[in-house]
Amino acid sequence: MKRVIQRGMKPLALALAAGAAIASVATTAHADAKPIKIGVVTFMSGAAAGPFGVPAKNAAEITAAELNAGKVPAPYATKGFGGAPIELVYIDEAGSTSKQVSEYRNLLNQGVDYVVGYTSSGNCLAIAPVAEEMKKVTLFFDCGTPRVFEDASFKYVFRPVATATMDNVGAARYVAERKPDLQTYAGINQNYAWGQDAWADFEGTLKALKPNTKAVSSQMPQLGAGQYNAGISSLLAAHPDVLHSSFWGGDLEGLVVQAGPRDLFKKSLTVLTAGETATHGKTRLPDGVIIGARGMYGMFAPDNALNRWLRAAYSAKFNDTPSYPSYKMNQSILALKAAYEKAQAANGGKQPTPEQVIASFEHLAFDAPAGKIGLTLGKGHQAAQGTAFGIVKNVNGKVTVTDVKQYSIAEVTPPEGVKSAEWIKGGLKH
């Protein structure tokens, strides 16, 4: 019996020794591995920097640092990307779309392996074909237009966060439930792709849910206009039951400051789909305003290990809580790590090629502070997520939300292969 065991142990011991040797070589290889350079593009100047770009950049910085230190909870506990450290290269998103295309090419000349970036929908629409042409894996972390993957398909481009359709369908569902007797609605949205699509989705959803309601005013000021008093007058004069806005950044803060003394948000039930960022600065949102965070982020995020880690790490470094752009940047980098390491495992532990990363990225399901995220749309390149809305209540000078309602993916997102506008027009059916 003893001999049998000893005989059986020999191959096992050899296998363990070989495994240890391989692991040792692999560890050494990882320790010596060339850093993986990620180009991070976000607003570092202009009105969008404070509420969007800076929190996103901060999140990129701590996510990379904590990943490199191996401090992120499972399933991201391995250091860097599969042992290789991450190095970030920052580019400012401020400026024209043509400038961003040039900057993107400059970024590639700096030898970045991957690009994670873009808040502006216009920039995402312009960068996607360039990424395809340059064969560079590029992740959009914040832009909302669903058109990126609904009007085209890309091999190298991914968006591991949801589209703006989710925001506006969720907002319409929330106000329809909160105000069953609503008759009229109005909107104030920025006059470009983001604002126009947001208004169309909100209006279309309300029409589907409550066919007898009607729009009484639709303000479309220029992006970054700064002065909204005439628009506020027009909205006050229209007396809508519900007011919708997808304003973000400095525009959102300007609207809140100028509408406050005129009681616009008190005279109409107001929903701000990107309102969560305004709870982080000194701008005071009045009680009763409905806000969204563009997903289960910020105060809507679930209580899980990744969320607790993100909030703790962010607060320790920046003395603030992460806002939704922080969550979206973090989610995108974690998605890239998940795809990279899946490809690396399939490649026998060796550094994967971009094509192998793409193969593992498509239809990926990964963990994030917002929960389990699946790339189930856009032929496996676009994430679908549920969302939540709630009502602002100021408690002891701190903004909280009450009456939080969560919406499932099926309630706020079209099925694969169906365009958002058609899905809304067809009555939001699955």
Binding site: A47, A49, R262
Partner: protein, 298 residues
């Protein structure tokens, strides 16, 4: 209240705000013949200086009536100092050169100041909105307007009337008009043109900074806020005629009323309305409606 009254009130408020900022731009062009691209940065500088001074004041419960004086004081100091440095440090070296060179120099100043503002104040927005709501509201039919907006109308009126009266009734003003009319002859007659240049540029900078400082409580003060205003004020002074004070007033009023009409009756067209007006005016009067007559030099 009928929508027409709302259009008038909204239009006049917007016009006053625009005029206050455009006044300095047109003054500087009138005297120095400089199309000052850095005017927007001076506006932003005023806003930052304003919130920097009144932020702690308001946070510590300081008298809010005093905060309005502090806003103007901050703008005068910041605009005057930077205006002096810009004119004496750089612009005076380029007088007499092609206007395009001066345009490029002020554009360079604009870029430098945008980065300098980020260096000093960072990229986070500053919001001090208490002075905006403190003065209460004025009810007009079923609409209410913050009285602060009427304060800006008042300041714009005082600035416009005061500057016109200065040019018309004071000795210095008359000498300045002589400089505007013909700087070489004025110099030959013993007028110290360079002194008028620096004072005028500082006055233009202070006016831009006051516009920014008084706007600060109504917005989130953030980098980039000077870009939009440059485009708008250029539209105003081009419509009115470069260098003309009545032209700037008329241009601002026209732009204000057209924009307010678009907001109330054709919201989708707001973005284009100002430029449609500018294109129409320039098609008929290429030098603007109140373009000052220029004496032909022999």
């Amino acid at each position: 209240m009928s929508q027409i009254y709302a259009v008038l009130v909204d239009g006049v408020m917007y016009a006053a705000w625009l005029f206050l900022v455009a006044l300095g731009l047109t003054l500087v062009y009138g005297v120095l013949k400089i199309l000052n691209m850095a005017h927007g940065s001076l506006y932003a500088l005023g806003a930052y200086a304003g919130v920097t001074l009144i932020g702690p004041w308001v946070a510590q419960g300081g008298n809010l009536y005093v905060s309005y004086l502090l806003l103007v004081l901050a703008a005068i100091v910041a605009g005057g100092a930077i205006g002096f440095i810009m004119e004496r440090g750089l612009l005076k070296r380029f007088y007499g050169q092609d206007p395009v060179v001066l345009l490029l120099v002020t554009y360079a100043l604009f870029l430098i100041m945008e980065d300098a503002i980020k260096l000093v104040w960072g990229v986070d927005p500053y919001t001090v909105s208490e002075p905006y709501s403190f003065l209460g509201n004025f009810e007009l039919g079923d609409l209410s307007y913050p009285n602060y907006n009427f304060l800006i109308v008042g300041v714009a009126l005082v600035a416009g009337v005061g500057l016109s009266a200065f040019l018309k009734f004071t000795r210095s003003g008359r000498l300045l008009r002589a400089v505007i009319h013909d700087r070489e002859v004025s110099q030959a007659m013993g007028i110290r043109v360079s002194r008028y240049f620096v004072v005028t540029f500082m006055a233009g900078a202070v006016l831009a900074a006051i516009g920014g400082a008084l706007t600060a409580p109504t917005v989130s003060v953030a980098p980039g806020m000077g870009v939009e205003i440059v485009v708008l004020t250029f539209a105003v002074v081009v419509i009115g005629g470069l260098g003309s004070l009545p032209g700037a007033a008329f241009g601002a009023l026209l732009v204000g009323l057209v924009r307010a009409s678009a907001v109330h009756y054709w919201p989708q067209g707001e973005l284009f309305s100002i430029y449609i007006v500018m294109a129409l005016v320039l098609a008929v009067r290429p030098k603007g409606i109140f373009a000052p007559l220029e004496a032909r030099k022999i």
